[in-house]
């Protein structure tokens, strides 16, 4: 049967003839003979599409997806929020899915305008004037934020709150090997960043804090801003876009750069990717903005249209002096987010954030009062909180899975060995629990009861 290649043997022969070649091998005559694969690749022979679909279904059957059989109370940066059919239907339109980066604007107004609308929404969520066309994910967006801040201030030293997601801090540490940034961690005190205990040293270029932080606690952004002002540093806030629906905008509280993970805006859990890196910044920083930026203009006839703009920042033009090396980004997720946010609207987003918070607080109440589970930190929170268990966290989660719950995330599983953001004694007994607007009271009650049993 066929694969996806249109050429019939007769056509191949005719084309080879046109090229004066005796066979397909001759197409590669420029490749040193010694290098060419003699036996071919050590892979299985090809198989048909339905065969492969069957194989992937079989692999999927070895996973436990969330749903009726595994009710999701896990978060830690990846959340089970409502995504309606209309968002899937629209974001899945093949014109968006099978287009390349809009290099020919005349035939790319669809993607360009959708990204323009996305930029507007992200900027408004952040409370900042500019947002880019997307980055890979929350962690890499954070690093781009650090790069911008250190470049703007000319100072490689960075104060990084221990409240920032452990994976994000790990990625920042990895990429600092190249940029040479000095990342210094600021510990948490009862769930909030203790700026007073920040390591001393040379003036810093960036102060970084998460809102809410990875334990779900709400930070005092004003305090972070004050710490930044001490050194005249830029304040980079890693903000959750759902929480942004009810919290004061980081921009309005002095953030110079706001980054975030956009998965919650219409993208499925997807085992962690592709997700969406959100990035917004102050106007002064626009020429340091990483990645693509869509701008409005007019065509020769005066009709409104959109193009990618300020391209001189980018790698294809600026090369080694570019503000970032990003090229392919996550445009399809950005388009998805724009559609999801339009579906939500102001009230919908507020409602999602509010109901999630109500569910989370109701859940913690049940765990506490009814079942005597202890919360890890007493700071205020929205849709996520950490509790300390008697049994090791993985054991608790394994037991909960048997009861039909993805019962949260084991803190230790997220933390690198060197991570000190939790006291050693609770590290292995801390579960981070998230509750979204999709969780019913019945699900929460069932979960709380199961958790209490499992946590012992």
């Amino acid at each position: 049967m066929a694969d996806y290649l249109p050429h019939t043997d007769a056509e191949v022969a005719e084309m080879l003839g046109f090229l004066g070649l005796g066979g397909l091998d001759e197409l590669f005559s420029v490749v040193p003979a010694a290098l060419r694969l003699a036996g071919g690749l050590a892979l299985d022979a090809g198989r048909s599409e339905p065969d492969v679909v069957g194989e992937l279904e079989a692999l999927g059957a070895q996973n436990r997806p969330i749903g009726r059989d595994l009710v999701c109370f896990a978060g830690a940066g990846a959340y089970d929020h409502e995504v309606p059919a209309v968002v899937r239907a629209l974001a899945g339109r093949s014109e968006f899915v099978t287009a390349y980066t809009p290099y020919q604007a005349e035939v790319a107004q669809g993607v360009l305008q959708a990204v323009f609308e996305y930029q507007t929404m992200v900027a408004r969520l952040a409370g900042l004037p500019v947002a880019n066309a997307s980055l890979y994910d929350g962690a890499t967006a954070l690093v781009e934020g650090l790069n911008l801040a250190t470049a703007a201030t000319g100072r490689p030293r960075v104060l990084l709150s221990a409240g920032v997601h452990p994976h994000w801090r790990a990625v920042a540490a990895t990429l600092a090997r190249g940029t040479g940034h000095a990342l210094e961690e600021v510990p948490l005190d009862d769930g909030r960043t203790a700026w007073a205990s920040a390591p001393q040293g040379a003036p810093v270029g960036a102060v970084v804090v998460a809102q809410p932080n990875w334990l779900g606690c709400l930070e005092d952004l004003a305090a972070a801003r004050r710490r930044a002002d001490v050194d005249g540093a830029l304040l980079v806030v890693a903000a959750d876009p759902i929480a942004a629906g009810v919290l004061r905008a980081p921009g309005s509280l002095g953030a110079d750069v706001v980054v975030g993970e956009g998965q919650a805006l219409g993208t499925r859990l997807s085992f962690g990717g592709p997700y969406l890196g959100l990035f917004a910044c102050a106007r002064e920083q626009v020429r340091r903005l990483p990645g693509r930026l869509v701008g409005e203009t007019v065509d020769v006839a005066g009709t409104r249209g959109y193009v990618t703009t300020l391209r001189a920042r980018e790698q294809d033009i600026r090369r080694e002096k570019a503000t970032s090396n990003v090229c392919t980004n996550q445009t399809l997720m950005a388009v998805t987010a724009a559609i999801q946010l339009s579906w939500l609207g102001p009230e919908g987003l507020r409602e999602v954030a509010t109901r999630s918070a109500q569910g989370a607080h109701y859940c913690l109440d049940q765990l506490r009062t009814a079942h005597g589970v202890t919360v890890t930190a007493s700071a205020p929170f929205l849709r996520e909180f950490a509790v300390t268990t008697t049994a090791p966290a993985e054991v608790v989660l394994a037991r909960l899975a048997d009861e039909g719950f993805l019962g949260g995330v084991a803190a230790a599983a997220l933390m690198a060995d060197e991570d000190r953001s939790l006291p050693p004694e609770v590290r292995d007994r801390t579960v981070v629990v998230a509750v979204t607007e999709r969780r019913t009271k019945a699900e929460i009650d069932g979960f709380a009861a199961a958790f209490a049993k499992a946590a012992r």
Binding site: V97, T309, L310, T328
Partner: protein, 503 residues
Amino acid sequence: MSAPGGRARSAPLLGRDAEPTIFELSVPGRSACQLRTTGVPATPLDELVDPGLLRTEPVALPEVSERDLVGHVTRLSHRQFSVDLGAYPLGSCTMKYNPKAFDEIAAMPGLADVHPATPAPLSQGWLELLCELERELCEVTGMHAATLQPAAGAAGELTGLLLMRAFHDAHGERRTKVVIPDSAHGTNPASVTLGGYEVVTVPSDGRGLVDVDALRQVLDHDVAGIMLTNPNTLGLFEEEIEEIAAAVHEVGGLLYYDGANLNAIVGVVRPGDMGFDIVHLNLHKTFATPHGGGGPGAGPVAVAERLVEFLPGPRPTRTEDGGVGWTTPPRSIGRLHSWHGNALVLARAHAYLRLHGRDGLRRVAERAVLNANWLRVRLAPTYAPAFDRPCMHEVVLTATALKRASGVRALDVAKRLLEEGFHAPTVYFPLVVDEALMVEPTETESPQTLVALAEAFERIAEEATADPERAHEAPLTTPVRRLDEARAARRVIATEDDRTAAT
């Protein structure tokens, strides 16, 4: 008053109006959102958290009905070109047709609804898939092990450079420079900088290949390595790759392979056999992930044995009990992604590799190279190739002669091509070529399409001499005509608020 959501004059089927923005369609109080009924007590939020933390006004998002949202986005989609509409010979981008079956695979609940923090025992299907894909990619590249974390090619490049650095550090060496050819893609130098290295550029020779002598000049013990694309961005195979590899290795440098052009040689020759130490792959080019208007992609990095211990972690690794778990290599450079990489893109690539298998992959390369060479020979008389020699999966043509004769430039040819029913090739890249038209037909376009594309190119050249204005004015048939990019950059309107401020 708000714009009408049910008017379709912006759909090219009916008209040529601009589509209002979603904000212009917005009406206070309108909404599409419907949420689940949960029965959870609706305690006022300000009783749950300190009111001082809360915003007083909701975020100014659009307020539209589902119907108007659908109308708006559907009309936008009709204003967008895509592979599914027609050929997209965008050089260096490998805009092949991506089978619909892989869209369904990427939407299977067993894959798409798995939380990234799901404990390994509950996500064995995913871990198995990632292990298998790593093995397959290593076989395809001739490498020893790979990380699947990098989210795109550029991320893979940076990963590779950090691996280089870790390798040299481990040998107590402080190397400072990385060599790249002048034809390299922009992400290469940009990544070098982020990797903390200094770029040393080596020129291409008269054949469009790395000038090996010039390379030898710049090679010394400060050189951490070299980044090469092979076939290079001129679509030409670096025939002296063995000499290059020997020379770089001789000074203790590493060879980095930019896999964006792997489509040309998959199943035919492997980077590892050429002498490369580090390889990134653009799964969204060679292995069946559609480009999504600019992403997502995936840029796994495969390495030779001596670099395995530095790979990012955690990595899926087989355990004694036959299962798969997560482990981090002893001297790992650390983590590069919020989670495990762009997993659903990885799943597509695995499916693509399973489907094509040993022979299928080679057929892909053969047909891709056959198509490009057919166009090269057919179009050589009208658009002289930058380098007149057999190409691989793409050919860099030039409009230099046309420009001299008629004033019609590569850009004009690109715009006229849109009217002919084809997406334009990549223009003005690589930078080393004057009036470059970089054409990559890919293997999924038929001979009939190639002929039509060639005829369109030829028609444009013919017409240009008779009536150059025509090409300068192109495109005339698209919903918008040429856009004022200078204006866009002069006064940046990057959000709805910028516009309202501007007007």
